[in-house]
């Protein structure tokens, strides 16, 4: 159930986007991939699920070369909830979750009772039974994300990749979705935008900047003001979450708000010189 990246390098359009990334996600743990916009988080994830090909390096699942496996075989072990998900075509929730069964079915294979039971279970696990016959396009952001997780569950994989699963959600759904993911008992690698939120849920975090790994480890050990400065180039205060003790980031203003500025000299008037 473990996932490991070894010396992963990825080029896109002749430019190296990801350089020598290596870390391991032990089985059943929740790993967060952190880093500023454009740091290569998505590229790393997309390489794992075969949208990009690595220029060098390996992705190992339980020690086996994941990218050398047949796509169908790999898809039975590793499921993905992708970042931007707009649906041009109208599927119901039940249909969408059933698409998760794709890697298990042969050409012309019909949906059998097993498939239906698995899809139903997946929908129940994310608490969306009442939405099963709704059109995906009519759901709210949080509901959509749950349905996509149900689809990944129906895929029957024991590894889950999430690309910014919470970036468009409000705080209630952010917590709900990450709580759901953390409770699934599968190996998770998730790119997460919000560092404090990642610290709250992840067992380990991997901080990326400019396509390179800055640091890896338990959130409380790794997420220091210095590390954030190195990765994001900005100053933050790091405090401990009052309940969990996990690091919590407080942004700082770059220009300290001083006392109210002295009134600007008045507009030049006719009597002035």
């Amino acid at each position: 159930m473990s996932l490991e990246l070894r010396d992963l390098c990825v080029d896109i359009a002749g430019r190296r986007i990801v350089t020598g990334i290596g870390f391991a996600v032990p089985g059943g743990t929740f790993a967060g991939l952190l880093g500023p916009n454009g740091s290569g988080k998505s590229t790393i994830l997309k390489t794992i699920y075969r949208v990009h090909q690595p220029a060098r390096g390996q992705v190992l699942m339980d020690g086996r070369d994941l990218l050398a496996m047949r796509p169908r075989e790999a898809a039975r072990r590793i499921a993905v909830v992708a970042q931007e998900f707009t649906l041009e075509f109208d599927f119901t929730v039940a249909e969408l979750v059933m698409i998760g069964r794709t890697p298990h079915k042969r050409a012309f294979g019909r949906d059998d009772d097993t498939d239906r039971a698995i899809a139903e279970q997946a929908i129940e696990r994310v608490g969306c039974q009442h939405l099963a016959h709704r059109g995906f396009g009519t759901l709210s952001g949080g509901e959509k994300q749950r349905v996509l997780i149900a689809q990944a569950l129906a895929q029957g994989a024991d590894h889950l990749i999430l690309d910014e699963p919470t970036s468009h959600l409000d705080i209630r759904y952010q917590v709900e979705i990450l709580e759901l993911v953390a409770g699934l008992g599968v190996t998770v690698l998730a790119a997460i935008h919000d560092i404090s939120l990642a610290a709250l849920f992840c067992d380990t975090v991997h901080l990326i900047s400019g396509g390179q790994l800055i640091t890896s480890g338990a959130p409380e050990r790794v997420l220091t003001a210095a590390a954030v400065r190195a990765a994001y180039g900005t100053e933050v205060l790091v405090i401990a979450h009052p309940e969990t003790g996990t690091p919590h980031l407080i942004p700082r203003r770059t220009r300290r708000p001083g006392p109210p500025a002295t009134p600007a000299p008045g507009p030049p008037d006719a009597t002035g010189h």
């Binding site: 699920y49 090909q53 790999a74 992708a82 075509f89 109208d90 599927f91 249909e95 698409i99 709704r134």
Partner: protein, 344 residues
């Protein structure tokens, strides 16, 4: 909120009934009216192997039936190709001619009609010219729009549009250089018609449709996955490179053959997939068979209208499909805004 989906079997039975009724009407109605019963009798006689040679027999068996069958085949083919192209470029407003097929075919056919290319093929010259043009254009679009291993939907659309515009200018140039009488023939051909249908024209489109449909149904799940986007499809274990290539070949062949036997008939490949998705949803194992039957019915009825509306003259079928299809599409787009990217 959507209702539960209609049962597929019921939809398919209804579409089949619609197709049969359309075909009977298409065979019976015309400048020499024949009762549906008599028309069926003629067909039965032929199928049983002892035709009676009468005027009605000749009209039904030699003229109207092949025409109706060809219209049905082309309608089914264009609806199917349209469904697939829309998934391939992930855009619900794509049609089978988006990727350069029609303009490529036009160049080929125009070259034949104006300059007698492929003259040795006789009656097949126009078909050969248009198929070659269509495949050439789509091949060019395919090669140009590939980015590494993957096809990018945006690039496909842009390359298709640009190449189409270029090829249309080539057609215009050929018409400009050609003689006026032949130009008339080219314009007629460009608007599409089933007026010259013969039994000999039927086997190739039928085989192409059957093979393509069998392949597409086998890939129904992969098509569903692809409808979610390239990334999700890859994550679901779909071999994108192979699927893109095979879908591209299937649509090129279907659209190319349709154009070769009937000219460029617009709107069917765009509108029918929409109507069918409204009825049965987007699950491709439902859309494809329903779309095939519905597209066939639509084209048979459209051709019937084209024959009778300005009788004894004949309206180009492309005019009919556009007159019906354009308003229909506008109504659909206004009714279902969230399908087209705006908030709903």
């Amino acid at each position: 909120m959507l209702p539960r989906r209609l049962p597929l079997l019921a939809v398919l039975l209804a579409c089949t009934a619609l197709l049969l009724v359309s075909m009977v009407l298409g065979v019976a109605i015309g400048s020499v009216p024949v009762s549906p019963r008599a028309a069926l009798q003629v067909i039965m006689d032929h199928l049983a192997g002892h035709p009676r040679y009468s005027v009605a027999d000749a009209i039904i068996w030699e003229i109207r039936l092949p025409r109706v069958l060809l219209a049905a085949l082309v309608g089914a083919t264009l609806a199917t190709a349209g469904t697939v192209v829309q998934v391939l470029v992930r855009n619900a407003l794509a049609d089978p001619f988006l990727l350069g097929v029609s303009s490529g075919a036009s160049v080929g056919a125009t070259a034949v009609l104006l300059f007698g290319a492929f003259a040795s093929l006789g009656a097949w010259a126009i078909s050969a010219g248009s198929v070659l043009g269509a495949l050439g254009a789509m091949g060019a679009v395919f090669l140009v729009s590939r980015q590494g291993r993957a096809l990018s939907p945006t690039q496909l659309i842009l390359c298709g549009v640009v190449l189409s515009a270029l090829l249309e200018s080539v057609t215009s140039f050929l018409i400009f250089r050609g003689n006026p009488q032949a130009t008339q023939a080219v314009l007629f051909w460009l608007l599409g018609s089933f007026g010259l249908a013969t039994w000999q024209q039927l086997p190739i489109p039928a085989i192409v449709l059957a093979v393509a449909m069998a392949y597409l149904l086998s890939q129904g799940r992969s098509l569903n996955a692809l409808a979610l986007g390239a990334g999700p499809a890859a994550a679901l274990g779909v071999d994108l490179h192979r699927l893109h290539r095979d879908l591209f070949i299937a649509t090129s062949l279907m659209a190319g053959v349709a154009v070769a036997v009937s000219g460029v008939i617009g709107f069917v490949g765009l509108v029918i997939p929409h109507i069918v998705r409204l009825m049965v949803g987007s699950e491709h194992r439902r859309v494809l068979p329903a779309g095939m039957l519905f597209g066939a019915s639509f084209m048979v009825l459209g051709d019937l209208i084209a024959r009778v509306i300005v009788a004894p003259q004949e309206m180009p079928i492309g005019v009919i499909t556009a007159f019906i299809g354009a308003p229909l599409l506008i109504v659909l787009i206004r009714r279902r805004p969230y399908l087209y990217g705006t908030a709903g």
